[in-house]
């Protein structure tokens, strides 16, 4: 009888300790995923605008500061022209002047979402001659131009 109680006690103890360890590792892993996501997001921002990144800390919390390189200017020019030509797309001059690129890019993503809703609300015949929301980032980041983008730029006399 006594033996049974001891065995049961040990079994319960092992289960409790085991699940505690498991949930602890789960938390550690979650935190690591968050850190990786954050770094990937930062990498993506600096990739899109060819920014230099200066990491003050690569551990949690990740601390990074951006600075523009000579390749950043072209991308900014393309952003500016789209802000003039497309509804909902804005150029956050103040944020960019302060090198707050993360916020600026978040804003651009939100603007593209708003523009996407506007685009979706249009008739198919109108959409055919409009710039597709997908093309906004492609044009700013990679200077890729569809016929509609090219036409829009020609009308605005955009030179690069």
């Amino acid at each position: 009888m006594k033996k049974k109680v001891i065995v049961l006690g040990i079994a319960i103890g092992v289960i409790v300790v085991g699940s505690l360890i498991k949930s602890y590792y789960h938390q550690v892993q979650e935190k690591e995923y968050d850190r990786i996501r954050q770094i990937r997001y930062y990498a993506n921002v600096s990739e899109t605008f060819k920014l230099g990144s200066y990491y003050y800390s690569t551990n949690d919390p990740v601390k990074v500061r951006y600075y523009p390189t000579s390749y950043t200017q072209y991308r900014v020019e393309r952003w500016k022209v789209l802000a003039e030509l497309l509804p909902y797309i804005e150029y956050p001059e103040a944020l960019i002047k302060e090198n707050k690129w993360e916020e600026a890019v978040r804003m651009l993503e939100e603007d593209i979402e708003a523009y996407r809703d506007y685009y979706s609300s249009k008739e198919y015949s109108e959409q055919e001659v409009m710039v597709h929301p997908r093309e906004v980032m492609a044009f700013i980041g990679d200077n890729s131009r569809s016929d509609n983008v090219t036409e829009l730029l020609e009308e605005a006399n955009f030179e690069d």
């Binding site: 230099g52 200066y54 990491y55 600075y67 000579s70 960019i96 090198n99």
Partner: protein, 190 residues
């Protein structure tokens, strides 16, 4: 009898730990590569590592294929190495001039013909920079590095003049280091 079993168990545990320790022993080089890979930047390729002293190291790395080049400064900790500062910029081939935690660093690719690199600081001091080589394993898609690197924890490297020479002592290239490190962290776009 009980004592013997206890001694045996302790003995087995010690032997297993020694075997594990030997099996999983990693040198500083590997630990630094792991630390930089742990930043989890897409497609990281760690290049040559310069051990400044027992507690400090500088590492050159690429990420985004060959899109961005970075320099990391690492401090030795109890169990491994820790990145204290890291910087990366869009790979242009220009000289990279960065100020990290303790060290100012200038570095860039060294042309295969370059054999000697001399650095003249603004205060007139002349020194030579090292050429660091890391052969990449092409099967794993690794890139081979051949970079010259110069660093200092006391001198200002702004406006230094770097001259590279080939094996006959002919000048290959004269490079002017910018007046501000990190491409000017405070620089903004128009």
């Amino acid at each position: 009898m009980r004592k013997k079993i206890a001694v045996l168990i302790v003995g087995i545990i010690i032997v297993i730990s020694i075997i594990l320790a030997v099996l999983f022993k990693r040198d500083d080089q590997q630990k630094i590569v792991e630390e930089i890979n742990a930043m989890n930047l897409p497609l990281t390729d760690v290049g040559p590592i310069e051990f400044v002293d027992n507690d400090h190291a500088l590492a050159i790395f690429l990420w985004s294929g060959i899109g961005h080049i970075g320099v990391a400064e690492l401090d030795k900790t109890l169990f491994g190495w820790d990145i204290s500062r890291a910087t990366s910029e869009f790979l242009s081939g220009d000289v990279q001039f960065v100020e990290l935690n303790h060290f100012s660093v200038i570095q860039t690719w060294a042309d295969p013909s370059v054999q000697d690199v001399s650095v003249e600081l603004e205060n007139g001091v002349i020194d030579s920079a090292q050429i660091l080589i890391k052969e990449g394993d092409t099967k794993k898609g690794e890139i081979s590095f051949r970079n010259w690197l110069y660093y200092s924890d006391t001198e200002d490297l702004s406006n230094a003049i770097v001259t590279t020479y080939d094996k006959d002592g002919e000048v290959v290239e004269v490079i002017e280091v910018p007046d501000q490190p990190n491409e000017g962290l405070d620089r903004t776009v128009e």
